[in-house]
């Protein structure tokens, strides 16, 4: 063991380096607008500092909480405290930005927009860093991590349900298109999960084939690799023609929803992108099965099929699941592109927003996408850890 492996001194008033970074970020944030006010959706914003964006006492209270939070971050304090502090500060920041919306919007004004300013985002970033660091250091068990995620989700559900945030611009956009939002959310999930399911069903057998046959391995993996290099917008576009042909020429195809534009080419494109991680991880997982385990299985007289089902597949499963995790996170992101070919999903808001230079609308598409991808990553990482053998160290 080297000296570095020995725990850092735990004197009570030692300064924490990450705390210094967080304090610096917060100091910068103090000079940036906490919120921005716009008379309508398109005009340039008017920056509001913390004390301009909230009623005096509330701004002062938040400032005190922030200072206390920075203090706890700055010194070497117990990790659990740091986690609790960061979560409390983050929660209060979200409540405060909601109140800022209400405070800044003139009563009855339906077109004025209040959006979070750079200072708010920087504070969120700073305390999210503190939370991420604390969570990484606590080495939480998989179930605990899922629990924390569920608690955070519940907090936002309550916050949104209570209407605290209703005067913020992103929720104004939502209010204007509530129905569309949930429809696109469904489409988005259907695209991401549907293509994942198809890729899993098709990819695992292909992976087993590639593992067992050297003749198939190189060509299959090369083709799948090549597909990955085609830019997503091009692949989505190129599938329009063949699917239009299928819809026109194969009886019943259009009846089940296949058409040149819309969700079908998007689904096929996502499926094509998903195959490589599933197939490659299946191959890697099966290759990683210890030869001794395989030899023992053969020695005990197992058939190929028995060996696959009882030895190889269970041992390779965590690696395959890692492939599925990669695909799911990637697909949730890529599904935004589907909007460009009329496939729907959250991308609709992103690209409409970009087209209208309405950033609130972009956020309405981007925030749920990022949140979904993040949640999917947390949950699947936890599951991968649960099914992995205990001795594979995770750090």
């Amino acid at each position: 063991m080297t000296d570095a492996a020995i725990a850092a001194p735990t004197r009570s008033f030692a300064v924490d380096k990450l705390g210094v970074l967080i304090a610096a970020l917060a100091a910068i944030a103090a000079f940036l607008p906490f919120a921005a006010f716009r008379a309508n959706r398109i005009v340039l914003g008017e920056a509001k500092g913390l004390f301009a964006a909230l009623p005096g006492w509330e701004a002062a209270a938040l400032a005190i909480v922030l200072a206390a939070g920075i203090g706890i971050a700055l010194f070497r304090t117990p990790t659990l405290w740091r986690l609790a502090t960061s979560l409390v500060v983050l929660a209060l920041l979200f409540v405060a930005i909601g109140h800022a919306g209400t405070f800044l919007t003139p009563p009855g004004d339906k077109i004025a927009r209040v959006s979070p300013g750079a200072g708010f985002w920087l504070l969120i970033f700073a305390f999210a860093l503190l939370a991420a660091d604390a969570i990484a250091r606590l080495k939480l068990k998989p179930w605990t991590r899922i629990g924390v995620l569920a608690a955070v989700a519940l907090f936002f559900a309550v916050l949104l349900g209570s209407g605290t945030l209703n005067d913020l611009s992103i929720l104004r956009e939502y209010a204007n298109r509530g129905d569309t939002f949930w429809r696109e959310a469904q489409t988005h999930l259907a695209l991401a999960l549907g293509s994942l399911a198809a890729a899993t069903v098709a990819g695992i057998p292909i992976g087993i084939l590639c593992h067992r046959s050297d003749a198939w391995r190189a060509p299959v993996l090369n083709v799948l690799n090549a597909i990955q290099t085609i830019p997503s917008i091009a692949l989505f576009g190129l599938l329009i023609a063949p699917l239009a042909w299928v819809a026109a020429n194969i009886p019943g195809a259009s009846a089940v929803g296949i058409s040149g534009i819309g969700a079908a080419p998007a689904m096929v494109a996502l499926f094509a992108y998903s195959l490589l991680p599933v197939v490659a991880n299946t191959v890697v997982g099966l290759d990683g099965v210890p030869p001794a385990a395989n030899d023992a299985a053969k020695g005990m007289g197992m058939t190929d099929w028995q060996r696959l089902v009882t030895v190889e597949f269970p041992l390779a499963f965590p690696v395959i699941l890692t492939g599925i995790r990669i695909v799911l996170v990637q697909n949730i992101g890529l599904a935004t592109i589907a909007a460009l070919i009329g496939g729907g999903g959250f991308g609709v808001f992103v690209f409409q927003g970009v087209g209208q230079t309405a950033m609130d609308l972009v956020l309405l598409g981007a925030v749920p996408t990022v949140a979904l991808a993040f949640a999917a990553a947390v949950v699947l990482d936890a599951i991968v850890e649960m099914v992995s053998p205990k001795d594979t160290r995770r750090d």
Partner: protein, 249 residues
């Protein structure tokens, strides 16, 4: 020469020929058009778009490499060791951000054009490079780093003389991943008016012209494959030189 190399050189020659004189390949794309649509995108020179596309990718990649390797070095020194767990989880979290979201969110700060694309590619490119640099610098053979200390190298000499050279192939693998992602992702930049080959594809989507979509996609895809191959070859050469086996895909 090996057949693989010949094939790649032929493909490269074809790619260059197409980029320089796309009109002479009109017959290839003609069957994809209908109702007398043009077969070749001419609103903007394909050569200019390609150069601009690659320039954006190159600048973004160089910037991500410098920052990512710098950060990886920092968190693997005793001074930055406190940041190691955080940086690992940030790299993990960062990868869940879809490129489109990064791009769209960069627009309000930077306006339309090349800048948000550069930033999105830069941020998105950081992660694979950082992750690999971290792997490279933390999985050096212990006997070698021990020996480097034992012979009396200073921290700096160890980093520059032993650790970085040994981690280079793994870092290069990260750069390769990052470049391939960036070459494809840069096309999305054209939705916010960056000058990239995505312009051709989007023109095709808007006018329902498959020929445009195909030629844009083809140029980008072929470029990505060639760059991937070239960097893989470089990696293998470096690995062979240092007598290491390949450890990272």
């Amino acid at each position: 020469m090996k057949p693989g190399l010949i094939i790649r050189l032929v493909v490269l020659a074809l790619l260059v020929a197409f980029i320089v004189t796309p009109e002479s390949f009109a017959w290839v794309f003609q069957p994809l058009t209908k109702n007398g649509q043009p077969a070749i995108y001419v609103q903007n020179s394909l050569l200019n778009l390609t150069v601009s596309h690659l320039t954006i990718v190159a600048i973004a990649t160089i910037a991500s490499t410098l920052l990512a390797v710098g950060l990886a070095i920092l968190v693997t020194r005793p001074f930055g060791a406190e940041f190691l767990p955080l940086s690992r989880s940030l790299a993990n979290i960062g990868q869940t951000f879809p490129p489109v979201a990064v791009l769209a969110l960069a627009v309000p700060v930077l306006g339309f054009g090349t800048a948000p694309t550069l930033v999105a590619l830069f941020l998105y490119g950081l992660l694979p490079i950082f992750e690999n640099a971290l792997t490279g610098l933390t999985t050096l053979p212990p006997a070698v780093t021990e020996a480097a200390r034992g012979v009396g190298m200073t921290d700096r000499q160890r980093l520059l003389g032993v650790e970085l050279p040994l981690a280079t192939p793994v870092i290069l693998a990260g750069i390769r991943l990052s470049v391939v992602i960036s070459v494809a992702t840069a096309t999305i930049g054209s939705t916010v008016a960056a000058s990239t080959l995505g312009e051709v594809i989007i023109a095709g989507l808007l006018s329902n012209n498959l020929a445009f979509i195909a030629q844009g996609g083809l140029v980008v895809g072929v470029m990505a494959v060639l760059i991937y191959d070239a960097l893989s070859a470089l990696e293998r050469a470096l690995m062979a030189r240092t007598g290491q086996r390949r450890q990272h895909a």
